[in-house]
Amino acid sequence: MAKSKRSWLIHLFPLPALILYVMFVLYPLFSAFSYSLYDWKGIAKGAFVGLENFTTLFTKEPFNEMFWRAIQHNLIYFVIEMIVQNGLGFLLAYIIYRKIRGAELLKAAYFLPRLLSVIIVGFLWKLILNPNFGALNTFLGKLGLESWAKPWLGDPDTALYAIILVNCWFGIGFAVLVFLAGLQSIPAELIEAARLDGANRLRLLRSVVLPLCMPSITIMSVLTFIQAFEAFELVYAMQGSMGEPVYSTDTLAVYFYRLAFGGAGGTDTVAIGLGSALAVVLFLIVASVSAISLYLLRKREVQH
């Protein structure tokens, strides 16, 4: 076939996508890597300081204290989301999978909150959880449980958990859909065969359904991990950039925001060097955990 003279034009096809992707995704991230190695005065880049920002972040007061407190909160975030959002999400998905009337309605209802902007979700729940006029405490009062009423977001002991549960409310519908897709991809013959072999329901769930659902469970766990370690919007909307009360809801991303745009350690100065160092640490945590688990997932899939 004769090549047309203008066939080189085909190489222009991926260019716009490539340019925007490099400019607005790759370049900023790699710049953040390089920023972390410099001393910064406000938004002016100073001298090259090697890993000094990292040492400060991990060893100097109050930065190290903030870091370890925030990362603990991220871990709690992850664990509770795994148990509440993904555990209940799997249960609900399994109920739908085992046939239930109104399945489409159920899916749509669970999913509805996921469509709202996180800031709307945060503000709505801030009003619902308000200690004086909030719907939750009023509701508890009507049930005769006044003693259970609390300033949910004002008490350092409950604030973090309240935010995480709101996040579960927001995300459970998505988890249900992902698990349901996993459940529905199990070949019906396998379930039938196990049942003919006399496996009871629990046995069926444990030895057939769960192992075959591992791909969707892994993917959901990775997504939950990423989300938990990037948690920012909900905390910002409900408790502000200081993770109030007294940093009890602070997360790494909120701390990062304070370092990058001011407000860390009680000062208003921006600390771009430290902020960038924290961005690198966060990136390494998220990227390594997701890479490892997806690698394990691939390996397991090949073995099947």
């Binding site: 034009l9 096809f13 995704v25 991230l29 709202l116 902007s117 800031i119 709307i120 709505l124 997701s290």
Partner: protein, 274 residues
């Protein structure tokens, strides 16, 4: 047999209890938007004494909500259209040709799936400043397009690869050039994947709050989520106004979802499950 019926009812109870839990807060938001602040303070759970749109009128007069809405639509629609065009062009190149570097290029795009773009916010801010795009909707449009590219290329390339090559060969013999093959033959066939890409990118652009928080200061350029941030900052105690704002902000997406809930749910999970 009794335990079976018991287990079944328990499943129904649990499933429908969660329907209530998912919807009730949204119901409260809508109902409270029709009450006066005094009514809300007295009983946040009850129905309004009289049904009136006073709060909405007041909201319309206090904040430039029409601007917020226009900006949100402009930013989401423009970035979705650009993403669709650019990502499908790139996917066509990756899926239908086998240049030596295509494997690398595909992998290079996929790298973006692992990158949390918020972590690059400081360099992005300085970049936008240099480009003179701070306080411009273009900062958001370009950023959402760029960040939507990796997943969109991934989904579209996967879909394009499943189409038989014969389609294209026939068209080429008939004298179609690359662009005609792409535009007339392949694009109509990948419509389902384009729908998925559209939904995923539209929702994330429409709902994003982080980037306009950093890039946009001018009130007239704010998108809905960031407009709500200023509403909540300024009128903290006026709950009727706040609920009206939340309801009005949530409404467009809820309506679109009710019209196409299946496509929405399939589209959003497609990105995760693939």
């Amino acid at each position: 047999m009794n335990t079976r019926i018991g287990a079944r009812s328990l499943q129904y109870l649990l499933a429908y209890l969660f329907v209530l839990l998912s919807i009730y807060p949204i119901w409260l938001m809508i109902v409270n938007s029709f009450k006066t602040t005094a009514e809300i303070y007295m009983d946040p759970l009850g129905l309004p004494a009289t049904f009136s749109f006073t709060n909405y009128r007041k909201l319309w007069e206090t904040v430039p909500f029409a601007d917020y809405l226009t900006n949100s639509i402009l930013v989401s629609v423009a970035s979705v259209i650009l993403t669709l065009i650019f990502a499908s062009l790139a996917a066509f190149y990756l899926a239908r040709f086998s240049f030596r570097w295509n494997g690398f290029l595909y992998f290079f795009f996929l790298l973006g799936l692992m990158i949390p773009i918020k972590l690059g916010i400081v360099p992005l801010f300085l970049l936008m400043k240099e480009l003179g795009l701070l306080n411009s909707l273009w900062s958001l449009i370009l950023l959402y397009t760029g960040s939507g590219i990796p997943l969109s290329v991934f989904i579209l390339t996967g879909f394009l690869r499943t189409l038989p090559i014969e389609l294209e060969e026939a068209a080429r013999i008939d004298g179609c050039n690359h662009f005609q093959v792409f535009w007339r033959i392949l694009l109509p066939l990948v419509r389902p994947a384009l729908g998925t890409v559209m939904i995923i990118n539209f929702i994330s652009a429409w709902n994003d709050f982080f980037f306009p928080l950093i890039f946009i200061q001018k009130d007239a350029l704010k998108t809905i989520p960031i407009g709500m941030l200023s509403l909540f900052g300024e009128y903290e105690a006026d709950w009727s106004l706040l609920f009206a704002g939340l309801t009005l902000s949530a409404l467009p997406m809820i309506i679109v979802f009710l019209l196409a809930s299946k496509q929405f749910m399939e589209g959003l999970t497609a990105g995760a499950v693939k």
